[in-house]
Amino acid sequence: MEKRDEHKKSPIARRKFLKALGTAVAGGSILAVSGGLIGRVKGAEADHYWQIDPAKCTQCGRCETHCVLPVSAVKCIHANKVCGYCDLCGGYYRTNARELNTAAENMMCPTGAIERKFVEDPYFEYTINEDLCNGCGKCVKGCGSFGNGSLYLQIKRDLCTDCNECKIATVCPADAITRVPLTWAYKLKD
């Protein structure tokens, strides 16, 4: 038996040969794939992050409901330099508000995340309390239809878990969520 195993045409030798061939092919393919992709890899400054394009965003409300986090990583951001500091703010009061006061039925924000502070007659400063904001985009819609559009939704980098495939992006009706370089992030409305 021992002798037959060492025979030239024994299956062991053939199998060994096939294994060696397989090893060579496997090693070769690793080198080929990594070699082909190494040129494509960009440096650290080219790291891309999920961000919303405010020009495309339609405030559909899915950012609030579709993020994998319990409270969405999408928050409303206020670009003060665009804001008109209006008294009658489309993002602060509902369009059908009976009285202009802070009663819940008159407020646009369902969580009371927009805080307003008197600056001087007739200007008011608005700030977003991000701990309360749930990214529903109602105020953004209001500000866009009656206002300067200084409110916009954006993905907060410190909250986002950077999923390989953003779950909101898969359902975004306007294709507004894409990966952009860090240098572009947030700076879309300033």
Partner: protein
């Protein structure tokens, strides 16, 4: 209703168009200054570097423990570290399993940005599998580690069941690549059963599925790794022909069958004598049949999936949007869906969408033909594997299936003696 909607839409459009200059910038007299806005920047790069260092170190530890030391203890510690760090702390994005999609998309699409970390997460476990076997699966992968840590008993599944279920990872891999290269969806990320458990929240269906898998893995060794994981399928190609591998010590073996019982992935094959003597002519005939059947399976698979490529392409968002728009054009609805509202609101043209849709359909036709051919190949090889019955004189390890978990070492009565006296001979 329709009128109302129209007004709403036009208002919205106006809002976008005149948003910048509807109200003038206030000129403050009280010396008010605009508040500074600071945007948080991600502090990711540090963690990513740590991820990669830990990946290499942990795989190194497993390779050393499984191949050199032949002991399981370090591998358990590696598993605990991996579940805690890669699982619960980093909550697993990006993982090696998901990186398959980024890599295949990068291979076909030059504009796709591939970060260094993703390439390393993809290639390093493969390099290690090529050198030492599937040491990544052993305990470095948090999914494998989690299942390994809860596993107490191995109920063995029959060969037929294992073969059929064993085809799933390959088919999953093929579909994951198909949907990735057509930019439709990352299905591995979407149907990830454990990520919800690690993140303590997420899609309830997937968490339920993950919990079921975890409960199953108490009784059956690593159901996810063996019957679902597409990356494991990829790694098995390389571990099959790896340079160094976990070995059974043939000279010390006393045929006690303990290692075979202990193996959670059914990778240890007991001795077997094939009593059917086959003449050379019969053997040649059998091989010839393989050579006829395999191409037939490939062609059948290619044909079948090509014929359903239209259905498959509905996973793509643009194709779905096209269908919606077409239906709306034929019989207009009063209430527009959010997608249609966005489409008409942005003033996109139907021609452009049609062009896009046709391009995607053509892509799907091409790639699903290849995918179908590969599925035919997978099924064909599975059938051939079932029909082959090799004689084994001793216990042998199926290196494609072995995940180097090291469980057999602690069960082998000879291994302990061998290590203590220092004379393990391979």
């Amino acid at each position: 209703m329709k009128k109302k909607l129209f007004i709403g839409l036009s208002l919205l459009l106006n809002g976008v168009a005149y948003a910048q200059n509807r109200f003038p910038k206030p000129d403050f007299e009280s010396g008010y200054e605009y508040p500074d806005i600071t945007y948080p920047i991600p502090n990711e790069s540090l963690w990513v570097t740590l991820d990669i260092i830990l990946l290499v170190v942990l795989m190194g530890i497993v390779a050393w423990a499984a191949l050199k030391k032949r002991t399981r203890k370090p591998i358990i510690w590696v598993s605990i570290i991996s579940v805690a760090y890669f699982g619960f702390f980093r909550s697993g994005c990006i993982c090696s399993i998901g990186s398959i999609q980024n890599i295949s998309l990068a291979l076909v699409d030059n504009s796709y940005i591939l970060p260094v970390s993703v390439l390393l997460f993809f290639i390093l476990p493969i390099v290690f599998a090529f050198l030492f076997g599937r040491v990544f699966c052993a305990g470095v992968c948090p999914f494998g580690a989690l299942q390994e840590l809860v596993n107490v008993k191995n109920y063995r599944l029959s060969k037929a069941v294992t073969t059929v279920l064993g085809m799933i990872p390959w088919i999953y891999l093929i579909f994951a690549i198909l949907y990735a290269v057509t930019r439709s969806s990352f299905i591995i990320c979407r149907f990830d059963p454990f990520i919800g458990i690690f993140r303590l929240g997420g899609d309830i269906g997937m968490i339920a599925f993950g919990t079921l898998l975890l409960i199953a893995s108490i009784f059956i060794g690593r159901p996810f790794c063996r019957f679902i994981c597409p990356y494991g399928a990829l790694l098995s190609l390389f571990s099959r022909v790896s340079i160094w591998k976990v070995e059974i010590t043939p000279k010390q073996c006393i045929n006690c069958d303990l290692c075979h019982d202990a193996c959670p992935v059914d990778a240890i094959k007991p001795p077997y004598e094939n009593k059917v003597k086959e003449s050379r002519q019969q053997g040649v005939k059998r091989v010839l049949i393989y050579f006829v059947v395999l191409p037939l399976m490939v062609i059948a698979g290619a044909f079948l999936t090509r014929s359903v490529s239209g259905e498959l392409s509905r996973a793509n968002k643009d194709v779905r949007l096209y269908d919606m728009v077409m239906e709306h054009e034929v019989n207009p609805q009063d209430v527009l869906s959010l997608e249609l509202e966005a489409f008409y609101g942005q003033g996109s043209s139907i021609e452009e969408l049609t062009e896009k849709q046709e391009a995607i359909q053509a892509e799907f036709k091409f790639y699903s033909t290849i995918a179908g051919a590969l599925i035919g190949l997978v099924v064909g090889f599975a059938l051939i594997g079932l029909s082959l019955k090799r004689t084994r004189k001793q216990y042998e390890i199926d290196h494609a299936a072995c995940v180097a978990c090291g469980r057999c070492f602690s069960y082998c009565p000879q291994n302990k003696i061998g290590i203590e006296s220092g004379n393990i001979s391979l």
